[in-house]
């Protein structure tokens, strides 16, 4: 604990030494850090920046995605055609 306190005191001493030279106060430094982090968020510079990794997936996974898309498309097409047929059958 004493070691921690000593480190903190040393850090404060360093900051008190540096900040006045750069004519910046502690609150201004905090504000600057806040601004920088907001700008980083706006520019999507974060660790969790999501990119589309479809093309980097293994061939089998890509094929599975395309096959699933084709399957659901076929199902939807069949549904639409069945609905159209049923409506026409009911009307005519």
């Amino acid at each position: 604990m004493n070691d921690q306190n000593e480190k903190q005191i040393a850090l404060e001493a360093v900051l008190n030494d540096i900040l006045p030279k750069h004519r910046i106060s502690g609150s201004e430094l905090a504000e600057t850090i806040h601004e920088v982090s907001k700008a980083a968020d706006r520019a999507h510079i974060t660790d969790e920046y999501k990119t589309n990794d479809f093309l980097e997936k293994p061939r089998r996974k890509k094929l599975n995605t395309v096959l699933e898309a084709a399957g659901s498309s076929a199902l939807a097409t069949a549904g639409v055609l069945a609905a159209v047929w049923a409506i026409l059958h009911a009307l005519i």
Binding site: T51, N52, F54, L55, T65, V66, E68, A69, A70, S72, S73, A74, L75, A76, T77, G79, V80, L81, L88, L91, I92
Partner: protein, 135 residues
């Protein structure tokens, strides 16, 4: 409502909404129907529906490309995957619509229903692939 969009079948069906709306409005507001209304609907809507459906799938792909323009890499390859189905279908549909009668395949099946079915499939496929690639 947003939950519905997170569904492959919804992704495949929702792009049909503008086609249906446009058809209903045109028939109700603009069309002057003389004679058999069902024949009118068939010859004015069902026969040419494949062009509308294919146009929407290409418009969807272009809209996706613009929306992803800031997304940097690989957009051309992903766009190629999305556009592949509509472009291939366009060639096949043009053959069935214009080439099939020259081969004496004159039935409605070849000239109307197969192009419609293929274009519906390609619209659904490109829409589902847009959903998959936008995750």
């Amino acid at each position: 409502m947003i939950g519905i969009l997170d569904n492959k079948i919804a992704a495949a069906l929702l792009p049909l909404l503008p086609v249906m709306l446009a058809a209903v409005f045109k028939f109700s507001v603009i069309d002057d129907v003389n004679g058999d209304p069902y024949l009118h609907i068939f010859s004015n809507y069902v026969v040419g529906a494949w062009i509308d459906v294919l146009s929407i799938s290409l418009i969807g792909a272009i809209a996706w490309a613009y929306a992803s323009a800031g997304h940097e890499r690989f957009i051309a390859k992903e766009l190629a995957i999305i556009v592949a189905a509509p472009m291939l279908t366009l060639v096949v549909c043009v053959f069935f619509r214009l080439g099939a009668p020259k081969m004496n395949w004159n039935g409605d099946l070849y000239v109307v229903y197969i192009p419609l079915c293929l274009s519906l499939f390609s619209l659904a496929f490109s829409s589902v692939m847009i959903r998959e690639l936008s995750k």
